[in-house]
């Protein structure tokens, strides 16, 4: 609880330390993540990597059901390497049109083009 009495002659400019033991910084995770990738193997690999680094809720979706997976709680969307260029671009456009601040990461194969 903060102590601050505005208007008193000598204002209490001190924030109390009550609950100090509970003031453990909660770093949190990157939040809900969706991986859109018809290639289940690469999608699962990415999911495992995210879970190793972080503890978010990772949902795997494909071209047909991604819209249902990307709800308001989602903060980050990966467009997997299994998506072809055209659907990946279309999904990315729709995602950013609906949620301009959404973080979208496109994953391409080493060859420079999506698988």
């Amino acid at each position: 609880m903060l102590i601050f009495r505005v208007g008193s002659e000598r204002r209490e400019r001190q924030f109390s330390q009550q609950g100090w033991a509970g003031m453990i910084m909660s770093a949190g995770s990157a939040g809900s993540v969706v991986v859109i990738d018809p290639d289940q193997q690469s999608a699962r690999t990415l999911q495992q990597m995210i879970e190793f680094l972080d503890t978010p809720s990772v949902v795997i979706a494909d071209e047909d059901n991604w819209a249902a997976a990307v709800d308001d709680t989602v903060e980050l969307v990966f467009l997997g390497r299994g998506l072809a260029d055209s659907p990946a671009r279309e999904i990315e456009t729709q995602l950013l049109r609906d949620r301009p601040s959404l973080a979208v990461v496109r994953i391409r194969d080493d060859s420079g083009s999506a698988a």
Binding site: F4, W20, A30, E75, P100, A103, I107, D109
Partner: protein
């Protein structure tokens, strides 16, 4: 590098497969940092004890229950969206609060955004899409930065406000909408009318009630209550607070706050990250606020001073005591977060900053749930 200075995660980003854990960690960290910055330390309510703040709150209470269109004016960062949300929450309207930043959407997309489109209306319109007016049916539509709306769009908006029906792009059907409109701008709309950049008829249609929010420099009495609320929210959300010396508080009250409440919220976020649980002194404030000429303060802290501050935060042991183990974990967590921030999320670089092996740091990151 401070959190505030961390480059924003651009909305569209590419990685090449196979992805390294460092790359992926960098992405996750940036998303996390962005959420931290956007953690809404800005109060959800319009806070202040000044006469002008009381007047604003009184006007909100009077106007909210009506369906009158409201034009909220004020400099950037004064809290115009907060006012718009309060107008909605106290309106009794059952629909959603839907916000649109008219200045952030490309002109060619704005019509589709506001009114929606039918399938096949244009290239890429693969399905029917409702616009913001329809989404705000029986609710409130907040048109932010209305002063930046293109003239051609102003004509269409005026028609909707007059007739209360919309037509989707590519559609022929008129759809009735019951929407309360709250518009906001930081621009001088009357000046823009003179410059023929804003339609006079739209201005009068929007300006049924004008609600002007004074800049923070004109309501200095509000600085401390706002600061108080922001620290409260920080404690509630992140479990971290800071306190302020008398000199620092005096200087915060005297500052002009050109970025208004948003600038104050950003400062609190930065201090919470860099000086968790500490007493913020005058020298800890950015130079533009403290007026000090030496490059000291939160933004200019060295890693060594960060370490020193983190290891020896200026806090008294509370009467009820603390858990030393948890306290040390907090310090460890804070330093790792700062090192990851300074290294753009690259674990190897962060490990070097902390004098650890990379594998050790990865283990710690996992153990601490970072």
């Amino acid at each position: 590098m401070t959190v505030a200075a961390l480059p924003d995660f651009t909305s569209s980003y590419q990685l090449t497969w196979p992805i390294s854990l460092d790359e992926l960690g960098g992405i996750l960290e940036r998303v996390r940092q962005r959420r931290l910055r956007e953690s809404a330390l800005q109060p959800a309510e319009f806070i202040g004890v000044s006469d002008s703040s009381r007047s604003v709150r009184q006007l909100v209470s009077q106007v909210a229950p009506s369906s009158a269109t409201v034009l909220v004016t004020g400099e950037s960062g004064t809290g115009k969206e907060v006012i718009a949300r309060q107008l909605h929450e106290r309106s009794g309207r059952t629909g959603a609060f839907v916000a649109v930043n008219c200045g952030a959407i490309p002109p060619e997309l704005l019509e589709s955004e506001l009114f929606g489109h039918e399938k096949g209306a244009f290239t890429g319109a693969t399905g029917l899409r409702k616009g913001r007016f329809e989404l705000a049916h029986k609710g409130t539509l907040f048109l932010d930065e209305i002063g930046d709306m293109p003239l051609a769009m102003q004509v269409k908006l005026l028609r909707v406000l007059q007739e209360r029906v919309i037509e989707r792009v590519g559609g022929v059907r008129s759809i009735p909408v019951d929407v309360r409109v709250v518009a906001a701008t930081h621009r001088d709309l009357e000046a823009r009318i003179q410059q023929q950049r804003f339609r006079e008829d739209l201005f009068y249609r929007l300006n049924v009630v004008e609600l002007n929010i004074p800049p923070l420099r004109e309501r200095r009495d509000d600085v401390i209550p706002l600061l108080d609320e922001m620290v409260r929210r920080s404690i509630a959300r992140h479990g971290i607070g800071v306190s302020f010396s008398d000199e620092a508080m005096d200087m915060l009250e005297q500052h002009a706050w050109p970025g208004n409440v948003r600038e104050l919220a950003n400062l609190v976020e930065r201090l919470v990250v860099l000086r968790p649980h500490a007493v913020v002194r005058l020298i800890d404030l950015p130079r533009e606020i403290s007026g000090l000429t030496e490059p000291v303060g939160a933004a200019g802290q060295s890693v060594a001073s960060l370490v020193e501050n983190a290891i020896a935060p200026s806090v008294a042991l509370p009467d009820e005591g603390i858990s030393l183990r948890e306290h040390i974990e907090t310090i460890e967590r804070n330093l790792i977060r700062e090192a990851l921030s300074m290294s753009d999320g690259v674990v190897a670089k962060a490990a070097k900053l902390l004098g650890l092996q990379r594998t050790t740091l990865v283990e710690k990151i996992k153990r601490l749930g970072l």
